[in-house]
């Protein structure tokens, strides 16, 4: 069972209508090469799940790949402003914006990792989110009789996580903040890892205790150097200011298609390189 695949092959595993969860947080270690490939392959009706997304969600909304977004926060950071494609999609009614508190996304994914239909949540006990969304319900705790909020479990069909290092079995190490990546690797039915570098098993073995995702949980591995760009990747590169700033200004799908096209050489570099040992 060969797990190492090309970016095209791996993204091809995603079906229209799938629930997809991305690793990273806002402009940090998001699996942007895979996101771009999803857009190139013109996937449809995806249900995106993430605590806090930025260009990953915005780009797929722009290219009409998205049916719904379950998130606590969708926006670029201070410097870059709002996620306008996402906003317009929701405002026009094309995209369903399912607002969560970031923590309720986490709880919904914990529900998936434990394979239970809901997760109780302490904090969410006031306000309109509770009223307007059918994925929250307040019930009576059968032990105490007190009210408690439940959030409905979300099971991602696919999780895509970008890491710095991974061996051919899928044993993956994330350097720096892990965000919710470990959780989504346990919540999803299928885990796709994109990695800066495929390293020899012998090298990963030196850091056994630091493995964040054991290989047997991983379905597919893609080598994509700079696979998080223009988001940052700790110890590898910073946010690509020029690319994000340029994207922010784009309003037409044609402009964005050119933007995606311009990334092709970079995004497909890993498979041409083969394994770098």
């Amino acid at each position: 069972m060969k797990k190492v695949k090309s970016l095209k092959e791996a993204v091809n595993l995603i079906n229209d209508g799938d629930t997809v969860s991305f690793g990273g947080n806002v402009l940090h270690r998001a699996p942007m090469a895979a996101v771009r490939e999803i857009a190139r392959q013109n996937k449809k009706s995806l249900k995106l799940v993430k605590t806090a997304g930025a260009q990953d969600i915005d780009l797929l909304c722009a290219m009409d790949c998205v049916e719904s977004v379950d998130a606590g926060f969708v926006s670029y950071e201070t410097k870059y402003g709002l996620a306008n494609h996402y906003r317009q999609g929701v405002q026009s009614g094309k995209i369903k914006g399912n607002e969560h508190a970031c923590y309720t996304v986490i709880c919904a994914l914990r529900g998936a990792s434990m394979n239970v239909p809901f997760m109780p949540v302490k904090g969410l006990n006031a306000g309109d989110l509770l009223v307007k969304n059918d994925y929250f319900v307040v019930v009576e705790d059968p032990f105490s009789g007190e009210p408690i909020t439940l959030v409905k479990t979300i099971v991602p069909d696919v999780a895509i996580i970008h890491v710095q290092e991974c061996d051919e079995k899928g044993n993956a190490i994330i350097y720096g903040p892990k965000f919710e990546d470990i959780l989504i690797s346990r919540a999803a039915n299928k885990v796709i890892i994109t990695t800066e570098q495929i390293v020899p098993e012998s090298r990963i073995k030196l850091n056994t205790e630091r493995i964040d995702i054991p290989g047997f949980l991983v379905h597919s591995i893609v080598q994509v150097p700079n696979g998080a760009a223009p988001a940052s990747c700790y110890k590898k590169y910073e946010v690509d200011d020029k690319s994000v700033s340029a994207f922010i200004k784009m309003s037409s799908k044609d402009e964005i298609r050119d933007y995606l096209k311009a990334y092709e050489t970079k995004d497909y570099l890993g498979e041409r390189m083969g394994r770098r040992l």
């Binding site: 947080n25 806002v26 970031c102």
Partner: protein
């Protein structure tokens, strides 16, 4: 705006710093440079054992100088004392052990309702906002929820919010003009920054101000201003202005 050697971003940072006490666990989210600097100021001044928590998970980063474009990047982890990720910060707050949370919001009304979600109908909004991030679970559970905003106008402080992302259990709202305190279900004008005036606050607030007496926020001390220069040489505290 500059008065007597300090700016609005300085007084906001300093008054927030003074709200923080030693040994408290304090969390800030993304795009939260001003509170991040305020926390570092408090640690340098009067609260050395304050516990600084953040999204990348760096407990007590020894420096915030590199957290340039973001406050969710890895920079806060690189120099940290331990790793304590966002998931766990939420759990901590649920357990009643998060002392202070810094949160945002787009609209606030006199009854302490917070909107970070939408303008217009939730399901087909006129404006889809970024979302409340952790607010809807942190405001009800953190011991003290501090909202900071760099905008103080009638679109922000409104008679009634369009949508209630969360409500209640606010502690303070800090704006460029003043500090509100949430008490007995209402926002009270606690103090006006010396850089502003009662009139300016009134003219820029969409609800009737509630106050017993007019007080003014303490001006930053020279020591605070000097310390700010040292810990925040790139002036991240002013990034949102």
């Amino acid at each position: 705006m500059m008065t007597e050697g300090y700016r609005v971003s300085d007084i906001m940072t300093c008054c927030i710093s003074n709200m923080l006490q030693d040994n408290e666990t304090v969390f800030h989210g993304v795009s939260s440079h001003l509170p991040m600097v305020a926390m570092k100021l408090a640690k340098s001044m009067h609260a050395p054992d304050l516990v600084h928590l953040n999204i990348p998970g760096g407990v007590n980063p020894s420096s915030i100088k590199q957290a340039s474009y973001s406050s969710a990047g890895a920079d806060l982890l690189g120099t940290a004392e331990a790793y304590f990720p966002l998931e766990e910060v939420f759990d901590l707050s649920m357990r009643g052990k998060l002392d202070v949370a810094f949160l945002g919001g787009i609209q606030f009304d006199v009854n302490g309702n917070v909107n970070a979600s939408v303008i217009g109908d939730y399901h087909k909004p006129k404006v889809r906002l970024p979302g409340g991030a952790g607010s809807a679970v942190l405001i009800p559970t953190a011991k003290k929820a501090i909202i900071w905003r760099v905008k103080h106008d009638k679109r922000t402080f409104v008679e009634t919010v369009d949508f209630t992302t969360t409500r209640g259990n606010l502690w303070r709202i800090v704006t460029p003009l003043c500090i509100f305190e949430y008490r007995k279900g209402k926002l009270h004008l606690e103090s006006i920054h010396p850089t502003s005036s009662l009139e300016e606050v009134k003219n820029n607030t969409g609800f009737e101000l509630i106050y017993d007496e007019i007080k003014y926020t303490d001006s930053p001390t020279n020591l605070e201003l000097a310390t700010l220069k040292k810990i925040d040489p790139y002036d991240y505290r002013s990034i949102e202005f």
